[in-house]
């Protein structure tokens, strides 16, 4: 086999449509007789709906209908389910639209639905709906929520505690900590973030009354699971009568994994009024309805022996889940968090516990990294403080505790079996790329001039490519985490690749085509990747958790292998040769006799022949289309070494990131350009968390950062130039040898920038600040230290 395209930076096949304004986003759909939905939302964080007066709104010209929650419930619409229920988890009731008599539980909760002939009129009508509420006190703090005397969101969940989840043996770990030479203790928060994919969520639904079939276009990272949830739990239209299409999706970062109320409301209305219906979120609506991320409060302790080896780690976390459990919420602060607490290090004993609480805030679920950034932040903050305590260079201290290359596969004490890695080589490369010793020297020189310059180092690991379905099931998942694919060779020799993965910016149409081009020896332009349509593609699981290449790509490899096998069979029959005497032509497609390339059946001949079926071996089915399901044997474990430099303006506290170096081991690389794009884009989100981004609520439950006027998104002029490089330790358990690349940038950058800021402030005796490191926070710390 030759690798002509895999490993090269092929330009993206999908780009011509995007750069010419031909992207197929849900909000672009226009259908005849289309009606428009707007949702009346709660201005209160916690209140009972006493009555809804829709008369004035209904009287407005152009208003077609107004629906309240009870009408949906009465028609059989179900509660929004939670797709990951850990043991003992109490799942709060969540209706798509809160009915009268029930409570709204966060600002933005749905109260009524307007349908009108234009979105402008729909908004007029929303304004004209009168809702009377009895407001209650709110709770917006994860830790306070479970204390006695706090407002209770759901009557059946006392103390607002949805579940407690623990891993490890606490007494053993506490004993080890008390026997340790040093114990580093730290209280920290990992603040709430708002994902803010640039495309706001949208849904369009069309009911075919003749066939009783529903088509729903929705901005989802995973249309198949959405169809399943709609069919089995919420909308009630069976799967074979429900087609879910996610065309081009404008970013997700996790926020478009989940099943949202509007995805239920829109098709429900379309059927009810028998017209196509569109709903598009405004950005203000997105802020108060898209699931948020992070929001942990943590106490952690790390033990060290006299030689500076880690002895034990204890982590206690209060995770805010918001008002309801979003679809995969309980996965995030449990398996995706505690199981990553070993980091890159040999930590013999780890104990972790999470208290998952409900508050009067937008539900919190996966956001880029999802649990793993929170874990990396805890571990790495402790590691950095430990190095400081022992007065060691942060890289030297890390190396002292690394899992060594010969120890893979490495069983951590927190369930994960790391597949492969070489952390020393990773850091060798990072030190070389960043000219680390010169950076350190420059920092010392700057410090001598009184400047606040800091260098931050992060060494992170994540578990990507979820997940072996058996493991997921044992941990509480309601679904499996394999992926499906079909490689369909058409009679003319053109190839369609159908995948259950679904790109929302990653470049699947290019990367998957590269794989198939190499697997079948056909040109890129003869291959089309099809995704995002439940009518076209067998069941699939979608894209999140940096899984598409490791799981979806592996399924495609399996399909392509089956196609080659069948081609060999056909060729053997037609060439009257034994299969073992034939070889597949990876450079041009087709099959030839070993040592005699002229005795060949071309890719075209074999494709056509499979369909004419004039000359197939006895018993072989006609056609050339192969399906495969790939269930991963394990997660993959990408790892990274990031180094950055910041300088703080002493007068204002403003932090600027001046230099950034990222070395990532994502295993084998299909398309380096795409991988770098993922890493750099992820770093921007990580820098955003470290320095500016904060989904802040006040005590009454109002979101203070509810628009781009108040939620600070990274912009071009505050981003540094980012230098990237890679080391490669292939994953041994998937056919491509790949690991995930989508989330590591975010995970690593948050830590690296945090450490650089803390390093800049260290000479002032400042040990820890919580993110985001806003100018005021940094400035205040400087004043207090002085």
């Amino acid at each position: 086999m030759t690798q002509a395209l895999v490993g090269t930076s092929v330009k993206r096949k999908e780009d011509p449509r995007f750069i010419q304004g031909r992207g197929k986003y849900v909000a672009n759909l226009q259908l005849p007789e289309m009606a428009y939905i707007a949702v009346k939302r709660s201005p209160y964080a916690h209140a009972r709906i006493e009555a809804i007066d829709t008369r004035a709104a209904e009287a407005m010209a152009g208003v077609l209908a107004i629906f309240t929650g009870q009408e949906l419930i009465d028609s059989g619409v179900g509660k929004l389910p939670c797709g990951w229920v850990v043991p003992g988890c109490k799942v709060p009731t969540r209706w798509p639209v809160v009915p009268v008599g029930d409570k709204v539980r966060h600002v933005g909760d749905s109260v009524a639905v307007v349908v009108a002939t234009s979105p402008y009129i729909a908004e007029d009508a929303v304004e004209a709906i009168e809702v009377s509420y009895t407001p209650f006190a709110a709770v917006t703090d994860a830790k306070r929520a479970m204390q006695p005397g706090q407002p209770v969101l759901h009557d059946d969940i006392p103390n607002n505690l949805s579940y407690t989840w623990a891993l490890g043996d606490r007494p053993t770990i506490e004993q080890a900590l008390s026997a340790s030479a040093h114990v580093i203790k730290l209280d920290l928060t990992n603040q709430r973030l708002i994902p803010n994919a640039m495309e706001p969520r949208a849904a369009v639904a069309q009911w075919n009354a003749a066939t009783e079939e529903m088509t729903l276009w929705t901005t989802s990272q995973n249309p198949h699971p959405i169809r399943l949830l709609l069919s089995a739990f919420t909308l009630g239209i069976p799967e074979h009568k429900l087609r879910v299409i996610s065309p081009d999706v404008g970013g997700g970062f996790g926020s478009k994994i989940f099943h949202y109320p509007e995805e239920i409301i829109t098709p429900w209305v379309a059927r009810k009024i028998n017209r196509p219906v569109k709903w598009v979120a405004s950005r203000s609506e997105s802020f108060v309805t898209d699931s948020h991320g992070r929001d942990h409060v943590t106490h952690a302790e790390l033990g060290l022996d006299a030689e500076g080896h880690i002895t034990a780690l204890l982590v206690e976390t209060w995770a805010d889940h918001g008002a309801y459990l979003s679809t995969f919420a309980p996965l995030i602060p449990t398996a995706f968090y505690h199981c990553l607490l070993s980091g890159l290090y040999k930590i013999p004993l780890i104990y972790g516990i999470t208290y998952a609480t409900l508050t009067n805030t937008v539900p919190v679920d996966a956001y880029r990294g999802a649990g793993r950034p929170e874990a990396a932040y805890v571990v790495e903050r402790l590691i950095d403080l430990a190095a400081r305590k022992l007065d060691l260079d942060p890289i030297a201290f890390r190396r002292h505790n690394f899992i060594q290359p010969e120890e893979f596969p490495y069983q951590t004490p927190v369930a994960m079996l790391y597949d492969s890695g070489d952390y020393n080589r990773l850091f060798d490369k990072a030190q070389e790329l960043s000219s680390y010793s010169e950076l350190v020297a420059a920092r010392e020189a700057a410090r001598a001039q009184g400047r606040l310059v800091g260098i931050g180092v992060s060494g992170c690991i994540e578990a990507s490519g979820p997940a072996p379905s058996k493991v997921a099931g044992a941990l509480g998942s309601a679904v499996g985490f394999w992926e499906s694919s079909i490689v369909r060779v058409h009679p003319s020799g053109k190839v369609s690749v159908l995948t259950g993965s679904h790109t929302h910016g990653q470049g699947h149409e290019t990367a998957f085509a590269q794989i198939v081009a190499d697997q079948l020896g056909v040109p890129m332009e003869d291959i089309e990747v099809i995704h995002g349509d439940t009518a076209a593609i067998p069941f699939g699981m979608g894209t999140y958790g940096s899984r598409s290449m490791a799981v979806g790509g592996s399924a495609i490899v399996k399909s392509a292998e089956k196609v080659r096998k069948k081609m060999l069979k056909i060729a053997a029959h037609q060439l009257e040769a034994a299969e073992e005497d034939l070889t597949y032509d990876f450079n041009g497609g087709g099959v030839y006799v070993k040592g005699s390339p002229s005795q060949k059946k071309s890719f075209f001949d074999l494709s056509l022949g499979a369909y004419t079926a004039h000359n197939l071996p006895d018993g072989l089915e006609p056609g050339l289309e192969e399906q495969a399901f790939y269930d991963p044997a394990n997660f993959t474990f990408p790892n990274s070494a990031h180094i950055c430099q910041v300088e703080i303006d002493r007068a204002t506290g403003e932090v600027s990131v001046q230099k950034y170096y990222a070395v990532d081991d994502v295993g084998n690389v299909i398309n380096p350009m795409l991988v770098d794009g993922q890493i750099v884009g992820g770093i921007a989100q990580g820098i955003g968390q470290a320095l500016w981004e904060y989904g802040a609520y006040d005590e009454s439950g109002q979101l203070l950062s509810g628009t781009f006027m108040d939620y600070a998104m990274p912009r071009a002029d505050v981003m540094p130039a980012i230098h990237t490089a890679r080391t490669v330790t292939p994953s041994p358990h998937n056919p491509l040898g790949v690991k995930g690349a989508g989330e590591m940038g975010t995970i690593a950058a948050t830590v690296a920038v945090a450490h650089a800021v803390m390093d800049a402030l260290a000479p002032l005796g400042i040990r820890h600040l919580d993110m985001p490191f806003t100018a005021e926070k940094v400035w205040s710390a400087i004043q207090e230290a002085a």
């Binding site: 992207g23 640039m198 950005r283 781009f708 006027m709 071009a716 981003m719």
Partner: protein, 151 residues
Amino acid sequence: MTAINVVVNGKSYTREVEPRLLLVDFIRDTLSLTGTNIACDTSQCGACTIHLDGQAVKSCTVLAVQADGSTLTTIEGLANGKLHPMQQAFWDQHGLQCGYCTPGMIMAAAKLVEENPEITEAEIRHGLEGNLCRCTGYQNIVAAVAQAAKA
């Protein structure tokens, strides 16, 4: 309703519009030119950037009636037989991922380069402050604008 006449991508349109209709909705819904996207409601993100009488503007913050008599170019009208150098550069430099901010980003960037052909990296970064991208970290966008400036 108010009658307006505009030339969009070289084609003249006369339409009756409500005074409150935003120019971006006129472009997307009335003219079905959906390449121009909407990503915020506070004039911050720049996804809706078009050229109005030769200037880059945020079409979500202009009323359609204000554009009466004007000449507009949207992303659909930027290419002239072949890709505009800025479009080509975004493709070459991997300056987009999900593609949603891309039309506005390209339209803003095209004007930056037109007004300042000798543009520096710092000027590019400053000049793109009105356009948000959540995918790329801007690095390849900056590279694309630099490439187009040299084209």
